[in-house]
Symmetry: C2
Subunit: 333 residues, 2 copies
């Protein structure tokens, strides 16, 4: 039913290995035989059995990608780019969804095994240092996003502190005086960094940092942003600007503001983080930190490639990818 090398060989009247040689472009095959084999290949519609090939070659042909959820726009976009980048290395991408829980993230890392994938790109939200112990089983790992915890693993991200500074400095430069932040979360590495950048920019501008202006968020979904914003607007002296740690929080925040009759940006300016496609079309459109997602995906793939190709292992890399501030209506002048 499905043609194998053996079938093709029988049809062409040569050995299995000769067919394999033709398929793999081995140089020394008599033109006559090559012709016959190619004919037979076409006739049978032969397609190599990737599994068998990889078994023999000792590779899997897969890269695992661990994300919280594909339905989160940032990760949907990122996954698409990773798949595209992986194609360049003849890799297929296996996607694991963890819902951002430590439990599931541990399970994914563990189930990874050395047979499932040649490497893995992980975007952890809740993993702790000890989880990384021997879990990866020697599979090259690349982490996306900052790690709060100190783990000797390759790592790709933008400079979250600088990016947050840039975002908040934009707000201060517009003359905003009461600037809040949404997204504080002790379990997220990035949250601490973005918060640090926020504080630096505020200090730089000599602005106050009332503790109630740093609002926590559990899941970074739209709903969390709306709730946090509702709280901020209920304060006796609400902020006149908010830095949200991702775009979804910002979208939720804008809705909460609108529902309470606050105008964006007139009454309150909003900055997001991620530059998801949604942010360009929201009403108002969202000023946001725009990481170069293509660069992140490509760099991650390159790092894995490098680990696999080099025999001895080298120092864990820490690559920072470019970003910019995308100014839109939500901080309009």
């Amino acid at each position: 039913m499905v043609a194998t090398l053996k079938d093709v060989a029988t049809l062409a009247g040569v050995s299995v290995k000769t067919v394999s040689n033709v398929v793999n472009g081995y140089a020394f095959v008599k033109p006559e035989n090559r012709r016959r084999v190619e004919q037979a290949l076409a006739e049978t519609g032969y397609r190599p059995n990737v599994g068998a090939r990889n078994l023999r070659r000792g590779r899997t042909g897969f890269i695992a990608l661990m994300v919280p959820e594909l339905s989160i726009p940032y990760f949907g976009e990122l996954a698409g780019l990773v798949i595209t980048a992986a194609q360049g290395q003849d890799w297929s991408v296996l996607i694991e969804q963890t819902q951002g829980t430590r439990e599931r993230e541990r399970a994914s890392l563990e189930s990874l095994g050395p047979h499932m994938a040649d490497g893995a790109i992980v975007s952890p939200e809740a993993l702790e240092a000890e989880d990384f112990g021997d879990m990866a089983h020697g599979v090259p790992l690349v982490m996306l996003g900052e790690h709060a915890v100190d783990v000797p693993i390759d790592h790709v991200a933008i400079d979250n502190v600088l990016a947050a500074e840039l975002a908040v400095r934009h707000l201060t430069s517009l003359g905003r005086k009461r600037i809040a932040a949404i997204g504080q979360n002790p379990h997220r590495g990035t949250a601490a960094l973005r918060l640090a950048g926020y504080r630096t920019a505020l200090a730089e501008a000599g602005l106050p940092q009332p503790p109630e202006f740093v609002v926590p968020a559990l899941n970074y979904h739209r709903r969390d942003g709306a709730e946090a914003m509702a709280y901020l607007l209920s304060l006796p002296e609400p902020p006149d600007a908010v830095f949200c740690f991702n775009d979804l929080l910002a979208i939720g925040a804008m809705r909460a503001a609108a529902e309470r009759g606050f105008r964006v940006p007139a009454d309150i300016a909003i900055v997001g983080f991620d530059n998801t496609e949604e942010s360009a079309y929201s009403l108002p459109s969202l000023t946001t930190i725009a990481p170069d997602k293509t660069a992140i995906a490509q760099t991650a793939i390159d790092l894995i490639r490098r680990r696999i190709d080099s025999t001895e292992d080298f120092e864990p890399q820490d690559v920072q990818t470019p970003f910019s501030l995308q100014i839109r209506e939500s901080t309009g002048n």
Copy 2:
């Protein structure tokens, strides 16, 4: 470095097959041996080589999922649900992105081969009937979304005509008289069906159907919706309601309306299609057709399972999944 059955067998002092039997839960193993094997399994941290196992078993362990782009919210959400549903059958999901071009869709179908996946879920945008010829190589295929073309393939979708009728009837029931549609596209199966539903509902209400109110859209992205809406609003007598063939078009349309000073829903009501998460938080939030995406994903997986399990092949199935109308602010009362 990585433990195989052989290593475990040596350590436990039994044959490879006995270890295999323990791993696979075969009943007749002497308790003593079972204990020793389990001990050895734990000691070596054995994990089965999925590739080898599947080679032997004649299955791949993979389901292919073909979508235009993961960055499109609907497909990001859908892919996440498909992955979850596939886990229930011990399948991993391989995602192919086609950008919705016929070229890439053909290539994906062809490269599918019988070795890559045990089945495939395809969401074609541009494929024609003849493309399906012998491409799938006997791999069970499930198509999502309507097929304009007549192909004997399993098929899961909501009733697009009824859904469109429901959406437009909602607009007519609100007293809207000049109702336009955005998303006409001769290459998309669903477009024709949604257009049919639109026409039925208009006819039912005795409303006019000026040809310029049916606006084409090439890619169903936000940008296309904005452009189409710009056109509609430039008409001497613009519509007072628009039915968009998906949420992204609607989001784009709402932006174009806002930019031109039209209020939604006061001046113009808008209905979308897909109920992506974004639509619940847009300003205004979007009334939209809400397909049961979980049901779609699960049904698709079930159909593939059924095809694989049954020996003789049966009639192509045509399963319709539930949907509802989610009423929100964009058609407010």
